[in-house]
């Protein structure tokens, strides 16, 4: 049983030695102040653990006792300095800690030398002081790390909590070990505590120097959130700049980094968060790692960085993150993660560039349209004015040839005027400057006006008919614009049935929707051509229709204006047989409109 007890104690000691060695190797690979402090602490603890079995072998000696007690106190002190590297202590606190260490060392040394044989009360007090000092050194960081973790993003929070947890476990082991060693008399209990301590050792290592797997688990929460946000990030960021800013923010969160930045292919900084412009320049200038992405050694006084390339069409840009005090280690896993993320960001930046270019073109087009149309109105005023004065006979008599030319000029001027008006309306629509003037009205009136307005265009080959319900069709619309929409549909019907035929205009009201259907028996439209009908400047090009004048704006405006009023224009067509264009508008219910509709219907009947 004694053998088993000693074996258990030796195994625990071996566990601590391995922990010390592993931490030392970790420090050797990623040099940093925090790592150095942690390594010092755990190596000292390993020494304490190792000296136990040595003492049992070579017998008690005051020299070994001094080393043990000093190493023990110093291990605690370095835990506090480890915390200092993350969350700096105040100067006074650091000095107090140093004083406490010195006092404890002195007491410790005294306890194993001059006072080794003092009475039990003195020895107890000395022992309590030593444990208390060590508990202060290690206990303070536990609380501090836990408190500091509260406001951090999830990866950093997990890192801080793991640290806190690691130290708590460390204290637990020592308390169990020390108390167990002295209080427990049963060998079985001693073996049990030793085995528990041994089992906890890997847990300490994992907490203090989290392996890739654990760091991946910490990232999972952020990754899940990023997955749901990535569409918004990559597709809906309106500008490159905005996308870069958001992407850097996510890179920071994802890796628990302190800073993140993106530089473009020219080396110009696109965005930086948690890192200064100067620091980015330094990191980029000192870049030594694999061009495909890798860990950059920390510059003096800073954390490590990961820089990965962004392969943009105009050249290679870079995205980087920097480690801060709360950042878990950067390993190959983090590099892979950032590389994967970088390819998504690259795609997003490319998309944003195309979108920006398209938006600029679209804006230019609208501005051009606006300017051109307003500038055209001036000259049009003069031409139209003089033509009308010529027609009025005010500018003198024309001969017969002139009198024949005049109506043609007049018609063409009107056509041009209408084109200008359409362009202005389109520009206004795209600027969002179009203001509707809705009124409550009987749609029958509007349609009848539109048909009347179209009658002058009807030649002897066409016949236009209007069918409307007996009862009023109440709607709330911009009457002027709806009239123009319907007139346009009728004018199209006439234009695209060059060999004549009936033009049927039918108004119906059913299911809360009013419909104005204009049917012709003209050239019709092929199914494939239907989508372009309603696009701006979209005209179907066929041998039958190419010679006909038109702006390609009428149906575009019609549909947009209908939609602005809660309606729609639909089309049904068969090539060679004719087309039906239908304007749909929401009906006003009788309750909602009340007497107003009745009144307007009354005026309609009196004016008709």
């Amino acid at each position: 049983m004694i053998l088993a007890e000693r074996l258990a104690q030796d195994l625990t000691a071996l566990g601590f030695i391995l922990l010390g060695a592993a931490t030392y190797i970790e420090w050797y690979r990623h040099r940093g102040r925090a790592q150095a402090m942690l390594a010092a602490s755990l190596v000292l603890l390993a020494i304490v653990a190792a000296l136990g079995p040595v003492q049992t072998l070579v017998g008690q000696s005051s020299a070994l006792g001094i080393v043990t007690v000093v190493a023990f106190e110093a291990s605690g002190y370095f835990v506090l300095r480890f915390r200092d590297a993350f969350l700096p202590l105040r100067r006074g606190e650091r000095q107090a800690a140093t004083v406490l260490l010195i006092v404890s060392c002195v007491i410790g040394i005294a306890s194993v030398t001059v006072l080794a044989n003092a009475d039990s009360t003195v020895r107890l007090i000395m022992g309590l002081e030593l444990i208390l000092a060590w508990s202060i050194f290690t206990g303070e960081p536990i609380v501090r790390f836990w408190l500091a973790s509260r406001d951090l993003p999830s990866v950093q929070k997990a890192r801080m909590r793991a640290l806190s947890f690691g130290f708590a476990v460390l204290i637990a082991i020592l308390v169990v070990d020390v108390l167990g060693g002295s209080a427990l008399q049963s060998p079985a209990a001693i073996i049990a505590t030793q085995l528990i301590a041994l089992a906890i050792v890997p847990l300490i290592y994992v907490s203090l120097a989290p392996p890739g797997l654990l760091r991946r688990i910490w990232r999972m929460g952020e990754e899940a959130e990023l997955r749901s946000a990535i569409q918004d990030l990559l597709i809906f960021s309106p500008t490159r700049q905005e996308l870069a800013e958001k992407a850097a923010g996510w890179a920071k969160r994802l890796l628990g980094a302190q800073g993140a930045f993106i530089v473009d292919s020219q080396g110009a900084l696109m965005t930086n968060a948690g890192i200064t412009r100067g620091e980015v320049d330094e990191i980029m200038a000192a870049r030594k790692a694999d061009p495909a992405g890798g860990i950059e050694q920390p510059l003096a006084g800073r954390g490590a960085a990961i820089v990965v390339p962004l392969h943009l069409t105009e050249g290679t840009g870079h995205m980087g993150v920097t480690a801060g005090t709360f950042t878990p280690l950067f390993g190959s896993d983090e590099v892979n993660q950032l590389q994967g993320y970088a390819s998504a960001v690259t795609a997003g930046l490319e998309r944003a560039k195309v979108t920006e270019r398209l938006a600029a073109i679209e804006k230019n087009k609208t501005q051009f349209l606006n300017l051109a149309s307003h500038e055209l109105r001036g000259p049009m005023t003069v031409v139209r004015g003089y033509v009308s004065m010529l027609e009025g006979g005010l500018l003198g008599d024309l001969n017969e040839r002139g009198r024949k030319a005049l109506p043609v000029i007049s018609a063409k001027v009107m056509e041009m005027n209408a084109l200008i008006e359409q362009m202005i309306e389109a520009a206004r629509l795209e600027d969002g400057a179009l203001m509707l003037r809705p009124v409550e009205i009987d749609l029958r009136r509007v349609v009848s006006e539109a048909v009347d307005a179209a009658r002058p265009l009807v030649d002897d080959r066409h016949e236009i008919s209007l069918k409307a319900p007996e009862r009023p069709v109440p709607v709330r619309v911009d009457a002027e614009r709806v009239k123009t929409i319907v007139s346009n549909l009728i004018s199209n019907a006439i234009k695209y049935s060059p060999s004549g035929g009936a033009i049927d205009c039918e108004l119906t009201a059913r299911g809360g929707i009013a419909r104005v259907a204009v049917t012709d028996s003209g050239v019709g439209i092929a199914k494939d051509d239907l989508p372009i009908l309603f696009t701006r400047f979209g005209r179907v090009s066929t041998p039958h229709t190419d010679h006909l004048p038109g702006t390609g704006l009428g149906l575009y405006l019609g549909r947009q204006l209908a939609r602005l009023q809660g309606g729609e224009i639909t089309v049904d067509s068969a090539p060679g047989k004719g087309s039906t264009f239908t304007l749909h508008l929401p009906l006003r219910t009788a309750q909602a409109t009340g007497s107003k509709v009745a009144k307007s219907a009354e005026t309609a009947s009196t004016s008709a």
């Binding site: 109105r377 003069v382 006979g393 123009t484």
Partner: protein, 179 residues
């Protein structure tokens, strides 16, 4: 006999929304405001008294309107800048002002505000502009304009024919308000 009268009746001076060829003008439209026919007031001797101040910087447009208005018997003064227009207002004593909004030195809306402040009994103002945006129209009307017309939409004849009616309207104090 001049042939302008028939074209005037029911002439559409609607706001900026009709964009279809052949429609909107003279189509007999009950929804839009129209210039009232002025039957019996086509006697040029009666108009000899009427003085019109035309504030317009585009000389082609100004000249065209002058030809029409003088032909119809009005006395016309043209001012091409905002500065000149205020001087002309004092010297020419117009009965009505036709005002363009885009002038080289200042906007027509500023002139209107000035008029209101400096000449409480100023003659009626009709805005003739190529800006047809509803916001502009609303601003012009709220500053007290009798009428807001888009130049490319009207002809000199229709404007000329409407002038006596406008003066009458202003004299009776029935200031037009838009709805």
């Amino acid at each position: 006999m001049r042939a302008i009268a028939p074209s005037l009746v029911g002439t559409d001076l609607s706001v900026d929304s009709a964009w279809l060829p052949g429609f909107g003008v003279g189509a007999g439209d009950p929804f839009v405001r129209r210039v009232q026919s002025l039957a019996g007031d086509r006697d040029s001797t009666a108009r000899q008294q009427i003085r019109v101040l035309l504030i317009e910087d585009d000389s082609a447009i100004a000249e065209m309107y002058r030809v029409q208005l003088e032909y119809d018997g009005f006395r016309v003064t043209v001012a091409a800048t905002g500065e000149n227009s205020l001087a002309a207002l004092a010297t020419a004593q117009p009965d009505i002002v036709l005002l363009d909004l885009l002038l080289p030195d200042r906007s027509g809306l500023e002139i209107m505000a000035d008029l209101k402040a400096r000449f409480p009994n100023h003659p009626p103002v009709v805005i003739l502009s190529n800006y047809g945006e509803p916001t502009m129209i609303d601003r012009g009307m709220s500053l007290g304009a009798l009428e807001y017309l888009v130049k490319s939409r009207v002809t000199p004849a229709t404007v000329s024919q409407a002038i006596p009616g406008w003066i009458e309207q202003a004299r009776k104090g029935r200031h037009h308000t838009r709805n």
